[in-house]
C-alpha cells in the first residue's frame, strides 16, 4: 500500500530519505524553448509517491548531480509523478537531454506545501511568475476537484513573452471555465499577441477578489514575489493570508546540511512554502 502523507513525511526525516530510487522517464513534453514536463514511473515497482501540493523531489541525473524540483502533477493521482523543469545550468540541462525510457534517481517528497485546506471558505488568489506556475499547478488541481469549497478562485500568471507561457492548453481550458478567473500577462508582447502586456503586479488592483477574505499563494522570482506582496497588501490582504514559496540551493533536502538555511529556518524542511507573516523580517534582505 502506498505510504500516507504522514508516513512519507516521516520517511523524509530518516536516512532512507537520502537514497534515491530509480525511475524511468515515461513521457517528455516540451512546454517552451527552455522548459519541459516529464512523467516518471518507478523502475523497481516501488510504491507510488504520495505528495502534497507544493512539495518537491530531489531529481538525480546519474553522474551529473541532483536538483530540487517541485512536483507539478495532480496529488490525487500519485501513480503519475510529474515534474516541470526549466533549463538553467548543469543538472537541469542534462535532465532536459534525457529521453523516454532513460533513468533518473528520485527521492522525496519533501517540504511543506501550500495551505490548500486552510483556504476553505475563502477567495483564493494564485499569483505565478514564469516557471513558478509549475509548483502551483497541483493547487489548481486540488481546488478544481473540490471547487465548491472555495469562494472566488483567481489565477494571475505573468511571464516573459507569449512563447514562454507554460501549460498553454490547460490555461485556455481554465480560462474558459465560469468558476475561475484566469488572467495572463507578458512582459513583452509579440506582433500576434492580443492579450495583456505588463508585469503581473499590474493585474492585482483590478482582480476580482475580496481582500479581507482571501488567501494568496505566490510563486516566482523573489523580486516578483516582493512586488506582488506590496500590491496585495495595498489592496488590504494581510501578511498572514499571503503564502510564498522560497528557493535556495539545496543539498540534503531533509534539514541536515544547512545549505538552505533561511534565518532560523531550513527551506527544505520548514518550507519551501512559508506564510509571509512568518518571514517578513527576512524577506527581501540580500544577505541571508
Amino acid at each position: 500500500m502506498a505510504p500516507t502523507l504522514d508516513e512519507q513525511m516521516h520517511i523524509s526525516g530518516s536516512a532512507e530519505a537520502m537514497l534515491p530510487r530509480a525511475y524511468a522517464i515515461r513521457r517528455v513534453k516540451r512546454e517552451t524553448a527552455d522548459t519541459f514536463t516529464m512523467e516518471f514511473e518507478p523502475v523497481d515497482g516501488a510504491s507510488e509517491l504520495t505528495f502534497a501540493a507544493g512539495q518537491f523531489n530531489m531529481l538525480y541525473v546519474f553522474g551529473v548531480g541532483e536538483v530540487p524540483i517541485s512536483i507539478s502533477g495532480n496529488p490525487a493521482n500519485p501513480q503519475t509523478l510529474v515534474h516541470t523543469t526549466r533549463v538553467v545550468g548543469t543538472v537541469t540541462k542534462a535532465l532536459g537531454e534525457l529521453k523516454r525510457g532513460d533513468r533518473v534517481g528520485i527521492r522525496g517528497a519533501y517540504g511543506r506545501g501550500w495551505p490548500v485546506a486552510a483556504a476553505t471558505g475563502n477567495d483564493v488568489v494564485i499569483v505565478a511568475g514564469g516557471i513558478g506556475l509549475a509548483p502551483l499547478r497541483p493547487v489548481m488541481y486540488e481546488m478544481l476537484a473540490a471547487r465548491e469549497k472555495f469562494g472566488k478562485v483567481v489565477l494571475l500568471y505573468g511571464t516573459r513573452t507569449p512563447a514562454d507561457i507554460l501549460f498553454r492548453k490547460e490555461l485556455e481550458e481554465w480560462r474558459a471555465r465560469f468558476d475561475l478567473e484566469v488572467f495572463i500577462t507578458v512582459d513583452r508582447g509579440s506582433p500576434d499577441w492580443r492579450g495583456n502586456v505588463g508585469v503581473v503586479t499590474t493585474l492585482i488592483p483590478k482582480a476580482p477578489f475580496d481582500p479581507t477574505n482571501t488567501l494568496a499563494m505566490i510563486c516566482g522570482p523573489e523580486v516578483m514575489m516582493r512586488f506582488t506582496i506590496n500590491a496585495l497588501q495595498k489592496r488590504g490582504v494581510p501578511a498572514e493570508a499571503i503564502y510564498v514559496s522560497m528557493e535556495r540551493n539545496m543539498k540534503c533536502a531533509i534539514g541536515f546540511c544547512g545549505h538552505c538555511q533561511y534565518g532560523g529556518a531550513f527551506i527544505c524542511k520548514d518550507g519551501p512554502v512559508f506564510s509571509y507573516a512568518q518571514i517578513q523580517e527576512l524577506f527581501g534582505k540580500s544577505e541571508i
Binding site: 508582447g189 506582433p191 502586456v197 508585469v199
Partner: protein, 153 residues
C-alpha cells in the same frame, strides 16, 4: 439632463472625490468610443485628453522601424489612460491603439488645466491622484526592465 457625473463618481480614479470637484470635472467630460485598431493617440501629437476606460483594452506602443510596433503595456477596464495632457509640452510619448472596441470617458485636458489653475484645491487633488498612477507605471516599468524571468534572476 443626464450627465456623466454618476459614471465619473463610480470610477475608482474619482473615488471619494468631493462633489463640487466632480461637478467641475464633469464639465470637461464626454463619452467616446474607439473601434478595434483605431489609434487614440500618436507619439508626438498633441495630448488633448485623458481617458477613463470603461470597457475594452488599449495598448501603448513604441514604433520601431526595424521591429515594428512594440507593445510596452496594455490598459483596460477601470484604468486611466494618459498623463501627457498634464505635463508640458502636452504631447503623447507613445502610440495608443484600441485593441478591442473600447468605450471610455474622455476628459478634455485644456479644460481641466484651466479649472485647476482657477481652483488649486482641485488641481492638488488631481495631481495627487495622477502621481499615484505615474508611480505605479514607473514601478511596473522598472520590474519589466529587470527582466526577472530571465535565467540570471
Amino acid at each position: 439632463m443626464e450627465t456623466l457625473e454618476p459614471l465619473l463618481a463610480a470610477h475608482p480614479f474619482f473615488k471619494n472625490l468631493e462633489e463640487s470637484f466632480l461637478k467641475l470635472i464633469t464639465g470637461c467630460a464626454s463619452n467616446v468610443r474607439f473601434e478595434a485598431g483605431e489609434f487614440i493617440g500618436r507619439e508626438g501629437a498633441n495630448a488633448d485628453h485623458f481617458y477613463l476606460i470603461r470597457h475594452g483594452q488599449v495598448s501603448l506602443q513604441v514604433a520601431s522601424p526595424s521591429r515594428g510596433a512594440m507593445v510596452v503595456q496594455t490598459i483596460g477596464e477601470g484604468e486611466i489612460l494618459g498623463w501627457s495632457w498634464l505635463v508640458p509640452p502636452y504631447r503623447w510619448t507613445l502610440d495608443v491603439q484600441a485593441i478591442t472596441l473600447t468605450r471610455a470617458i474622455a476628459l478634455d485636458g485644456k479644460c481641466i488645466r484651466a479649472k485647476c489653475e482657477e481652483n488649486h484645491d482641485l488641481g492638488y487633488e488631481l495631481l495627487k491622484r495622477f502621481t499615484q498612477i505615474m508611480v505605479q507605471r514607473l514601478e511596473a516599468t522598472r520590474i519589466q526592465l529587470l527582466d526577472i524571468y530571465g535565467t540570471h534572476a
